[in-house]
């Protein structure tokens, strides 16, 4: 391993970390604004022009708030839980190609930290580890609502993971690789080559599983404010709570990258237009997360398990079987 590669990788890691930490903050601003507009409100308006500096105000508040470790909590686990959520979200991003490769000052940059040959498996696996944050944090807090939230985390965990894994299996069979770059190159031929046209069922299933994975509104039952306060976050304050927050939003952004890369052609042929197209797709999927939050009700945990095990998993299996039959003959 030569030094240039090491330096390049560290720079890429730092850039991704900074950009997506900032995006997580700005994402909250967009979320509040879009939700407000959909509910005929104005949203944040006072801090800065159109409330743009609200993000900074929230950040200052989070950083300066006292970090409380309540009595009766299991200290070490309580302290490490938010780090798990935030860290795994960013670790998962290592295998995501954010842009096509480009040349700057005669140096070719691959905007992916590590092009693993098991990319998609790695991303899904590490993202799934992120749910240990709510699970451990909820169980370590001496709080019944946190405990309920931890139980729900486990329920969500065993439900969606099967669906996301099985639904992604059919595209993997078609592409014959687990690297997201290979997925992208498989679809470079334009819109008609996108995997969504041959795998619409897998696309919808993976999308649904992405909502469960990130815990967004139809499946927002881990930290369901109106039922169990803030769930696992009830006992947290200050930056520890902020880490949970950053992890959730970073996960939303990363899964918004993964869905277009797998199903919607990614960055296409690698031109500037393709890169901009990828950003547009990511923006749409991120917007959809906010859109559903304004429009749809939450499901109960038992309904989520019912949906995942009795509806989506059979559909995914049937999809895999049909894909296999079509590929065989």
């Amino acid at each position: 391993m030569d030094t240039a590669y090491l330096i390049e990788t560290i720079i890429k890691v730092v850039v991704i970390l900074l950009i997506f930490s900032a995006l997580a903050g700005i994402g909250t601003y967009f979320e509040r604004k879009i939700l407000a507009f959909m509910q005929r409100r104005l949203g944040p308006m006072y801090v800065g022009p159109y409330g743009l500096l609200q993000v900074a105000a929230d950040g200052i508040k989070l950083f300066t708030k006292e970090d409380i470790i309540p009595t009766n909590v299991v200290g070490p686990i309580f302290k490490i839980a938010p780090v798990i959520t935030a860290a795994t979200a960013f670790i998962a991003a290592a295998a995501i190609p954010f842009f096509p490769q480009f040349t700057i000052f005669g140096y070719t940059v691959h905007p992916i930290v590590a092009d693993l040959n098991i990319g998609i498996l790695y991303i899904l696996g590490v993202m799934a580890v992120g749910l240990f944050g709510p699970l451990l944090g909820g169980m370590a807090s001496a709080n019944k609502f946190s405990l309920l939230s931890a139980a729900r985390t486990a329920a969500v965990f065993i439900s969606y993971e099967v669906v996301s894994g099985l639904s992604i299996l059919a595209p993997i069979m078609m592409v014959g690789s687990l690297s997201l770059i290979d997925f992208n190159n498989y679809q470079t031929g334009g819109i008609s080559h996108w995997i969504i046209w041959s795998q619409p069922v897998a696309f919808v299933l993976f999308w649904i599983a992405a909502f469960a994975e990130t815990g967004r509104t139809p499946f927002h039952l881990i930290a369901n404010d109106h039922e169990i306060i803030d769930g696992f976050g009830t006992e947290y304050s200050g930056m520890r709570w902020g880490l949970f927050f950053i992890g959730e939003y970073a996960n939303m952004f990363f899964i918004s990258f993964v869905i277009p890369l797998i199903f919607l052609g990614g960055y296409g042929d690698g031109s500037l237009l393709g890169a901009l197209g990828l950003i547009g797709k990511v923006a749409f999927f991120f917007f959809f997360f906010l859109w559903t939050r304004a429009a749809w009700p939450d499901v109960r945990p038992d309904q989520l398990m019912w949906l995942c095990w009795k509806v989506l998993m059979p559909l995914a299996v049937i999809n895999v079987v049909i894909t296999g039959l079509v590929m065989m003959f």
Partner: protein, 205 residues
């Protein structure tokens, strides 16, 4: 404005209808059919469209309070005001004491004296806003239309027993000279544009 639509009490003919709610399925096949129907009827997209439509229409209802304020109705009973006579700019209050007598929460206190022109004059007049229930009896009983209610509803104070005195309530003389003293339209006054906002109360379904 036509009143027929408000006088027509038979609301059943005007778009009201009973919602058709099916029985819940009991057997497995019925439940399966319900799931399929709900999955493919696209109700989720109706919800998505509704919120997107509202976002595109951008019909924001927020009132940014300290900068913008909603208009209040003429009948609104907030902190009292003392009016002046239009002819002479002198105070209308004749110190009769009726408001003090009628006040059911005993929050008005007044003292009077005979001035140099042998007229009765108010020497002290305070209202304890911590006790006042803003019932409006004082304004109603006042024979001179001197004490009325104003529109000042922002009553932040360091203590509950916030008093207003005569000088505070009296219309300032420069405002009087400018002719901008507002008469209290009072009880029975109609809110402007009330006709457009009135809605029919359905009496029968």
């Amino acid at each position: 404005m036509k009143m027929e639509q408000f006088n027509d009490r038979n609301v059943a003919d005007n778009g009201y209808f009973l919602v058709d709610i099916e029985d819940y399925p009991t057997d497995g096949w019925g439940k399966f059919k319900r799931v399929v129907k709900r999955s493919f009827r696209g109700e989720l997209f109706v919800g998505l469209w509704v919120v997107l439509r509202e976002m595109i229409k951008f019909d924001i209802h927020t009132v940014q309070y300290p900068e913008e304020k909603l208009p209040i109705g003429p009948r609104y009973r907030a902190v009292h005001e003392m009016k002046r006579l239009w002819e002479s700019d002198t105070e209308r209050c004749i110190g009769c004491g009726l408001c003090e007598k009628i006040c059911i929460s005993d929050c008005i206190r007044m003292d009077t004296k005979i001035d140099e022109n042998s007229r009765k004059e108010v020497s002290e007049y305070t209202i304890n806003l911590g006790r006042c229930i803003f019932c409006g009896y004082c304004a109603e009983v006042c024979p001179e239309l001197a004490i009325t209610h104003g529109g000042e509803y922002e009553n932040a104070s360091q203590q509950r027993e916030h008093f207003v005195d005569y000088e505070y309530m009296l219309t300032p003389i420069d405002k009087m000279k400018a002719g901008t003293q507002m008469e209290f339209e009072g009880f029975g006054a109609i809110t402007p544009h009330e006709d457009e906002r009135v809605k029919k109360t359905p009496l029968a379904y």
